[in-house]
């Protein structure tokens, strides 16, 4: 039916249907009630980098060997690493200081791409607001280190690939070591 004013009535019917429908059809209300309802993040969601450690002890299981490749590659230069040294001043294969300034980080993931030790990975935690401007946005080693099981829980596919690669590397190394040991065992006999 078309008469003057029918357009307004149709419009009123549409809003009335939406108004009433929002009380009966739950899927109309798509708003997430944020602190109570969390969004289901897609698997590749990423926020800022973190450091993976194996096993239970963060310091002992740290994969990072302080090679500083990520520090050099980081485009906004938000990574700061100081290599650890023992009492004699000999460089150790672990960082003493590892800081990431997430107020500078642009989440480009280049550090993750270049890391040869599968040590640095992207986190999915987005609740990083703080009450101060500088201090709490510079993440130190203690806050960066997160366990491999946490990594598996946020990025299962990627973590499984990494684990498989590490496992393969370890086997290859073991095989090489075994071969070397066998060779070493053979050599003295051959020398005789």
């Amino acid at each position: 039916m078309n008469f003057p004013g029918s357009g307004i009535l149709k419009g009123l019917a549409v809003t009335a249907r939406n108004f009433a429908g929002s009380y009966f059809e739950k899927d109309r209300l798509i708003t997430e009630q944020y602190p109570e309802e969390r969004p289901k993040l897609p698997e590749n969601a990423r926020s800022f980098p973190f450091l993976v450690y194996d096993g239970g002890d963060p310091e002992a299981g740290m994969r990072c060997v302080s090679c500083k490749i990520c520090e050099k590659e980081c485009p906004p230069q938000c990574i700061y690493i100081v290599q650890d040294r023992d009492a004699a001043g000999k460089a150790l294969k672990r960082p003493k200081i590892f800081d990431i300034d997430i107020s500078v980080c642009m989440s480009c993931q280049i550090c993750v791409e270049v890391c040869p030790f599968e040590s640095i990975r992207m986190d999915a935690d987005y609740e990083l607001s703080s009450f101060e401007r500088f201090g709490s946005l510079v993440l130190d080693k203690a806050r960066l280190l997160k366990s491999n099981s946490y990594y598996r829980s946020i990025h299962p596919t990627e973590a499984a690939e990494t684990d498989a690669r590490l496992e393969a590397d370890r086997k290859k190394k073991e095989a090489a070591a075994a071969a070397k040991a066998a060779k070493a065992a053979q050599t003295p006999e051959a020398a005789k």
Binding site: P4, L12, S22, Y23, L29
Partner: protein, 401 residues
Amino acid sequence: MDLLERAPIELKSWFLSLLGSFGVPQWILSVLSALLIIGTVIGVFLGLFALMSVMERKILARAQNRYGPNRVGFFRWRLFGLFQPVADGIKMITKEDLVPRTADKAVHFLAPVAMMIPALMVLAILPYGRDMVPAELDAGLLYFFAVGAGTEVAVFMAGWASNNKYSVLGAMRAIAQMISYEIPLVIAAIIAAMISGSLSPSAIVAAQGGFTWGFVPQWFVFTPWGFAACLVFYIGALAESNRSPFDLPEGESELVAGHLTEYSGFKYATFFMAEYVGMFAVCGMLVTLFLGGWQAPLPLLTIIPSWCWFLGKVCFVAFTMVWVRATLPRLRIDHLLAFAWKFLLPMSFAAFLAAACWHYAGRGPLAWFLSLAIVAVPYLILGTAFSNRFALSRRLYQFSE
């Protein structure tokens, strides 16, 4: 039931007689009696305003499939966000009150007050229930429109005193709009006064009492002329209270906030409050004139107190105003004025004529159909002409095509 019906009046006289028994002099009692009525009316309407400010947001949200405000509660209890007005009030009071350096300070200060006073004064003559009129005036209707017109001055005061071009433009629009829509509004009101033969709101409500065939209420809205006049009054009321789709004076897309641009803090809150109280007053007038005032819609339902009916009807009309706001976009200023003068005014005259014919044709079924014809024919002609005049056509891009 009769007790509940008279509860507010009985409560007041009981309280006063209690004070009287303590030897409080008579003149204090009569002043106190007036103050009690004023306090109750203002309290109820400010409570309605607080409720409306949150319910409007919730209804609009629901019409857009959102939740709306549902957070502010009392400590742990959220209560559907019904404590939102408290939070809003605290925010408004604690905000800085900015006055532009070049503003006319006295007028800038007085404008919110000048807006609030008429909005509260018009509440005096509404019949809230059987024998419940704060001020029984013989020319109550005249008083309502005479005092209500004061808000226009207040809006212009606000716009002029702010010394801001957006404010002045908003105020000019408001004046043009309010004066244009006042005419159909008043003519629609005159129709009800003409049929009931009185300018007193109580008499107009009394004229709508009783039921045809025992169940159809004799409210004016159920006659063709009454329906047309009610719609004209409703549209006029929307425009008078600056509500969407007639909220051009505050059109934020082009005028920042119109006459409210330079107001902040409690002065802004006062404007906001005055607008909503004014809206409720005009809803109350609409209910009084066309929707039978405090009369129950069915004989059976008269057991519910009359003041509940009045309040319920006012809330219903206010709900429809939010519904319209959720539906219609804002008009353009020339369309708005053309609508007032070329459509609404002729329609109010047609309703006027129809009401007169209805009365002189004996108020029977024949008169009913006669008045229907007198209202419907101009509506169809004007409406078709209007929709053709503003019909959307394919836009021609002169240079690109």
